[in-house]
Every structure is written in structure tokens, then in C-alpha cells.
Amino acid sequence: MNMPPPEVTLRGILAQAGDLSASMLHGAGRSVPLEAAARSTGFERREDFRDCSVLIAADDQLTTALILIELDGIARRVVLCPPGLTEEHLGSIIRQAEIDTIICGNDPAECSKHGTARVISYGEPNRSASLATEPARETEWILTTSGTTGAPKLVTHTLLGLVGAIRPTRAGARPVAWATFYDIRRYGGLQIFLRAMVDGSSMILSHADEPLDTHLQRLARCSVTHISGTPSHWRRVLMSPKRSLITPEYVRLSGEIADQALLNALKEAFAPAGVSHAYASTEAGVAFNVVDGLEGFPVSFVSQSRGADVEMKVVDGSLRIRSDRTARGYIGIPDQFHDSDGFVETGDMVEQRGSRYHFVGRRGGIINVGGLKVHPEQVESIINTHPAVRMSRVSARKSPITGALVQAEIVLDREASAGAAAIEAEISALCRAKLPPHQVPSRVTIVDQLAVTSGGKLVRRNG
């Protein structure tokens, strides 16, 4: 086992982040000063976890964050248990990741059901502990992939790879306070948590049970400056009457395709905030960040990437990525996502238009209309340009004639004033003007809301 330099542990990063005295970790119910989080321990003896394979099954994100700070550099492996797992999937994770220790939430009995692993609860982080003086080892960080129907796959990262894309945030007039609508137990949210740790800045954690309006009020109270979420998260924010409470300096989108209509709406709602969209995935890591306010990304990102930190190529229309930040692999499954040159096949389809690549959808999400392909995301990006539309979902409708037809569901902006029938007709006309006939929705239905997964992405029936 290679010994990494001692500073590449989470506590090492915090020790180098400078003055932490004004920074806080804000959970939904309580807050912990970052200085205390960096130093204190809620365990009897941190050394009890040396070289262990630990499942972090805390109830909330704040406790998860504290445990990560404690155990990185000590445990052999930490597994971030996402919220809402079924018992069956939990059991499968424990077996696959060879878990010997479970750090549980409020219900230790629940965790004890799963075999012989010892079950430990995390206390108040007030027992004094030494600073980062223990010998450090490299800890594997295991994330689960979301959105699949079977058992979650376990994706192995290292802290070095996870923080590889992070540069210190430039502070504006106010001290930096990061927030994300994601859960930090998933890749997108973990990135933001690690950003805050590299900055030594405050971080406001989300909570699944907290209504959006309450969450926005809390973000405002904690003086949030930098916020990250998926396009679906942001569309919900734009629909909230409380959106004017927050005045972020930086708005970041990732995890789904950011279309021009949404980018424009965010720029208008939060001016003069910078609005950028990043491309990242659990497997491929963070690849790039687009800051020019336009959808898609410059072709030069790919054509000039040879030898760069992140190398990219487009094969059969989909993006492939090679970098130190890609995951090492899945646990227990032969390497499926690196090609023979070490590139990760992302499954995200791109199309070149002029000097830009545009994301058009997922390889598996294509709707086949009589042999013609339709990317739901591409149709959604047209529908979303209608001023009355806040969110849309395009899906397949079975057809005995062409196999499938395209259909759309839309959520209207709360200020939309026209009648439903008029808006449906306008959207059909808009799509007919902008799209080839087979991509035009055969039916447009207005719905109150569209479900979003716990990972912040639009729920799609075909995954």
C-alpha cells in the first residue's frame, strides 16, 4: 500500500485551509463550527476504526460530514450510504463492500440486522482529540450510483481524485458559504462539500424532508453565496415565491443538461451572479465547467484536450473521458466503464453544431419513432423556451404504427396567465416550427409537478 503524503486527508486539507474560525457546517436542525468539526471526535477512540471497512449510515448529512472528516486517512474504506435505501440493497452493499463496521443513525437495532458487522453510533463531536497527527493511510471512498433499478453499484474513488477538479473559490464581498440541493452522500453533493472543505468555508447542507421554501429561508439566513444543483432543482427554485430571499454570487448546475432557457432565467433571476454548468458523473468525475452562459460547450474542450488533466473524445456520438479523477472501478464487478485506452464511456450523447457540442441525451434514453431517433432532452429544451413553461418531461408513448410516439408533460410557471388549451396549442406549434415532425409531441399535458429523484434528476420511466 502506497502511503500518500499526509496532507491528502480531509483533516489535512482542513488544517491547510487557513482560518476556520468564522466557518460553520449547517445541518437542517443544528450547526457545528468547522473548527470543532476539524478537531473533535464523536467516537470513543478514532483508532478503533483503523483499516476498517466502514458503512456510514447516519441519518443526516451533517453527521455524515463529521464522520468523513474523522475517518478519512484511518479507515481502509468508507461507504457513503445514500438515503432511502431498501433493506435488501443495504444488505447487498454490506456484503459487496465487505463492511465490518456500521456507523448507524438513531436506530442501532435496524443496522444490527445485517450480519456480523459491529454497529456503532456517533456521539456529539465534543470529545477532545489530537490534531491530524495519527499516521495517515489512503482511504477508499465508495459511492453508490443512483438511478438504476437493480442493486446499487459501488463506485470506488480516492480523496485525491475527488478533489482533483477543485480550485479554491474566490471570495467576493461576503465570506464564501457553499450550499447544494444535492445530498452530499452522492457524487454531485460530495463535490460541493469537498469544495467547502478545501476553502475552509461554511457549508449549508440540504435535508430531504425540508420543504423547498423553508430550505431557501435557511439558505438566506446562513448568507449563502455559492449554490449548486441540478437543472431540475433550479427549475423548482425558480417556481418558488421564496427565490428572491437568496442572493447568490455563483449559481452552478450539473447532473442534467442545462438548456439555454434555464441558463437565461437563472441569469435574470440572480443577476449579477455568475451562472455556470459543469459536466461530471459518479464514474467519470468532474470533467469541465462552462462559464460563458451558453448551453453546450466549445468543441475546443475536446479537440484541445490531448495531454490535459482531463482528456476527452467523442466516439459514436457519445462523450468519453480520461483523467485521474475518474473512479477506479466498481466493487465486485469487472471493469465495465474504462475502454482499452482508459477512457470512461459516459453514455451522454453530444452533437456538434458549429463550434459547440450540445448534449442531446442519454444513449439509453432514446425514443425510437418508426426508426427515427428522438432524444427526450432535446425536445424538452425546445419546450422549455416557452415563457409559460418551467419544467417539462418528454417520454415515449407506445404506438402500434411506429413503435413509439413522443409525448410531453409540462409544469407551468406560477405566473402563467394564458389558458391551458392555448398554452398546449402554442407548445405544439413551437415544436412543429423547431423540430422535425417525428420529434413533435403527439400530446402535450399540463401537470402540477414532475417527480424528481433523490439525486435531483427528473424521474424518467426508462431510467
Binding site: G370, P400, I401, T402, P437, H438, R443
Partner: protein, 81 residues
């Protein structure tokens, strides 16, 4: 509105929306000569399913595909077996 007249209305509206030149709609008109392409038929069948709750093409595994407009209308006029 009768089944026949709602089918004819739907055909005319879909042809207009898809900018297709429609042949005169007589019962012996061969569907392949109607001016409607397969996307138009898919849209027509989907719309009729929404309006009537019926999709005769999927109701059984043995559908004899209609050749003429009259046969197409007959599929909808006859209750499912």
C-alpha cells in the same frame, strides 16, 4: 359525433398540421394513397385512442391491417370481440 365523422375530422386536422396533401376521403381510398405517412397514422391512432379509449391495433394479437379507409373506419365502428 359518429365514429366515422370523428375519424374524418382527425385525418383532416392531422394532414393539415403535418402539411400533407390529402386525397378525397372515400371508403375505397387505399390508405397508402391517402397522402398520410406512417407518422400521420401513428398520430391518428393515438388521437383516436385518446378520444374513444380504443386502439384496435393493440386489442388482439391478430389484427388484419386495413387496406382502405373504409376498412380502417370499420375497425373502430365494430366493438371489440
Amino acid at each position: 359525433m359518429s365514429v366515422r365523422s370523428s375519424i374524418l375530422t382527425a385525418i383532416e386536422e392531422i394532414a393539415a398540421a403535418q402539411k400533407k396533401n390529402l386525397a378525397p376521403l372515400t371508403d375505397d381510398l387505399a390508405l397508402t394513397n391517402s397522402g398520410l405517412d406512417s407518422l400521420c397514422f401513428a398520430l391518428l391512432v393515438a388521437r383516436l385512442e385518446d378520444e374513444t379509449g380504443r386502439d384496435p391495433f393493440s386489442e388482439s394479437d391478430e389484427v388484419s391491417f386495413p387496406i382502405t379507409l373504409g376498412e380502417f373506419i370499420a375497425l373502430y365502428e365494430h366493438a371489440p370481440a
